[in-house]
């Protein structure tokens, strides 16, 4: 009697959140999956069931493959680079150098800026001939680069921006975690004869693992979700060199209005993200020590 009433109360308390989650997360996912099995309605022709046709199209679509490969390169470079840089900056700021508050703020500023503003700043860095980068390189005879305009360098240019922006954000988490580590642990390790590099590898780093996992999940999601700078700077070009999966979905859905195909692409993106999240929470979680 008592427990069942408690169960009712519990369910009622959960209801608002459940309704919101269902309406804005799970129901759209289901609808997307269903939509991906239907053709795109055009004019008077309504959507009809076409099974896995969209997915077959996708397998043969070179732009899809290009965007997938780009996204993989983008993720595999931005994630480790931004995490590594974040950790390095956090260690530096935590080491009690002078002007610590100022350094911390300087590192954090890129995070506070909206991506479009960031794109604007970097536009100036990347401008051929007049840009900061070219001006710095010209004395060495390396000027005249069109960083965003050539397909060899465009993706790299975007990667640099992302790392620059994300590292400051992740640094804050690392800094908080570093300040949680008891100095006595470091001292104990030193007394046991550990050199600074050993203290870092065998004490600091393992104790930062929960933070690293959290940051890594955020970084993965960011790598597939953050496409503002593609909008602002390259529009996926030149020659699809900076085409990322989400931007491609946007193009297909809102430029070409092929909503059925866009739904199928979305399903692939969601599946990839779900897989990564499952790996991170399932596998890595077991290997991470929580205090």
């Amino acid at each position: 009697m008592k427990t069942s009433r408690n169960a009712i109360y519990g369910s009622l308390l959960l209801l608002p959140a459940a309704v919101l989650l269902w309406t804005f997360t799970y129901q759209p996912i289901l609808v997307t999956i269903v939509d991906s099995l239907y053709s795109t309605p055009r004019g008077r022709r309504p959507a009809r069931f076409i099974g896995l046709d969209h997915y077959e199209t996708m397998m043969a679509d070179p732009v899809f493959w290009k965007s997938l490969v780009n996204n993989l390169i983008y993720a595999l470079t931005t994630i480790p680079l931004s995490i590594g840089l974040a950790l390095a900056m956090a260690l530096l700021v935590n080491a009690g150098i002078r002007g610590r508050a100022l350094t911390r703020m300087a590192y954090f500023t890129p995070t506070v800026l909206p991506m479009v503003a960031v794109a604007n700043i970097w536009m100036f860095f990347y401008t051929p001939d007049y840009g900061l980068l070219d001006q710095m390189l010209r004395p060495f005879g390396l000027g005249g680069n069109n960083w965003l305009g050539s397909s060899e360098t465009a993706l790299g240019a975007l990667i640099a921006i992302t790392v620059w922006k994300e590292a400051g954000f992740f640094m804050i988490f690392y800094l908080a975690a570093l300040q949680q580590i008891s100095p006595a642990l470091i001292e104990a390790a030193q007394l046991e004869g550990a050199a600074p590099s050993q203290v870092f590898r065998r004490v600091t780093l393992p104790l930062l693992m929960p933070t690293t996992l959290f940051v890594a999940i955020n970084a993965v999601i960011g790598a597939f979700r953050l496409v503002d700078h593609v909008f602002a700077m390259t529009k996926g070009g030149p020659d699809n060199a900076t085409m990322l999966l989400l931007y491609y979905i946007y193009q297909v859905g809102f430029s070409f209005w092929d909503t059925g195909y866009a739904a199928a692409l979305t399903v692939i993106l969601l599946a990839a993200l779900a897989l990564i999240a499952m790996f991170q929470f399932g596998y890595a979680d077991r290997r991470v020590h929580y205090r």
Partner: protein, 358 residues
């Protein structure tokens, strides 16, 4: 020389002088405790020896080697932290083996030493656990194990028992003392608990405000305290320290009607008598019983002598009720004389309190 030698060691933080030119030696084997009230510089002294703080001036010699400028990792000593400082991400076994694996000790040797330490401390069933899965006493033994496995000739301990309950503390006291004797090493043990220091140490270094007040055996500190500070720090309840006034034939307790309890000297003096050395008698120093506290094995009676209070500790049940007039006596050897201005011990021969002196 093995052991530790500290010479005019000083540590300043800005204007704070946490350690003020102290010097002492700890032999090998020897169990030395650093004792003193909170904030007197015990931990700082220990951390200076460990190399976790840099000395402002002075010299530290360990096992005949001047280590003053060396980092902690090069000093070849082990330490048990007050907070234990166990690595939360490592198992008990890995915690204990941490130092050996850092130093690249071969596997077989590691195994041998681990099993020796595990037997010594009774950690057998805990090896796979994480520190968070251990009780306070178990954590403390792991911390001790991590310090002992290094087999360093010097082991520093910073209030390792302060987090334990009374019974476990008494057990660990014996265990640690026993270990030191079996391993024949130098142990420097910080505590602010005088009973801990008295029961464990070969020698006690009593500190106050960054200086050494007295350095001696527990018996020295109890029987011949160097100052009123030492006298009142050691023993429960603390020693009675009383103001004296000159009377005919010597010094009497101020406010009392005599008799003279000490010979007169050139400067004002104070008299110290331990509560457990005082007895009630038919004659002697007149006193009025003010309050009585019964502790089972003994009774502490607070008596008023003039304006001053004296505690008397007698075995068994209370014999007197508050308000009673009584007389106090103590053997001559139980009286200590201190300089009233400096508080230092004065070694003048003490006059016997004659039965009929009143």
């Amino acid at each position: 020389m093995s052991g530790i030698r500290v010479e005019s060691l000083t540590k300043e933080w800005g204007t704070v002088r946490a350690v003020d030119g102290i010097g002492f030696e700890a032999g090998s084997p020897e169990f030395v405790t650093l004792l003193g009230p909170s904030g007197c510089g015990k931990s700082t002294t220990l951390r200076l020896i460990a190399g976790l703080e840099q000395a402002t001036s002075g010299r530290i010699v360990i096992a005949g080697r001047d280590v003053t400028g060396l980092p902690a990792s090069k000093r070849n000593l082990s330490m048990v932290f007050q907070s234990y400082a166990l690595f939360p991400h490592l198992s008990v076994a890995d915690n204990i083996l941490f130092g050996l694996s850092i130093r690249g000790v071969p596997k077989a040797e590691r195994k041998r030493r681990l099993s020796a330490v595990v037997d010594l401390l009774g950690l057998g069933r805990l090896l796979d656990r994480r520190p968070s899965q251990l009780s306070g006493g178990q954590q403390q033994r792991v911390a001790l194990g991590r310090a002992l496995i290094a087999e360093t000739p010097v082991c520093l301990l910073d209030e390792p028992l302060s987090n334990l309950d009374a019974q476990l503390r008494a057990e660990m006291r014996n265990e640690i003392r026993g270990l030191q004797q079996r391993l024949r090493i130098t142990m420097l043990f910080v505590t602010h608990d005088q009973t801990e220091a008295m029961s464990m140490a070969d020698r006690i270094i009593l500190m106050r405000d960054g200086r050494i007040e007295q350095n001696g055996t527990p018996v020295d500190l109890y029987e011949r305290p160097a100052s009123t500070f030492v006298a009142r720090f050691i023993g429960t309840p603390p020693m009675n320290v009383l103001d004296l006034t000159p009377v005919d034939g010597g010094l009497a307790i101020a406010g009392s009607s005599g008799p003279a309890v000490a010979p007169s000297g050139s400067s004002p003096a104070r008299l110290g008598v331990r509560p457990e050395h005082i007895g009630f008698a038919e004659s002697g120093l007149a006193a009025i019983v003010q309050s009585v506290e019964y502790f089972g094995a003994d009774t502490i009676t607070a008596c008023r002598v003039g304006q001053q209070l004296m505690l008397v500790r007698t075995p068994g049940r209370p014999a007197l009720t508050p308000g009673t007039t009584t007389h106090l006596r103590w053997p001559p050897a139980a009286a200590h004389l201190f300089d009233a201005t400096t508080g230092l011990r004065r070694d003048a021969p003490l006059q016997q309190l004659k039965p009929d002196a009143a």
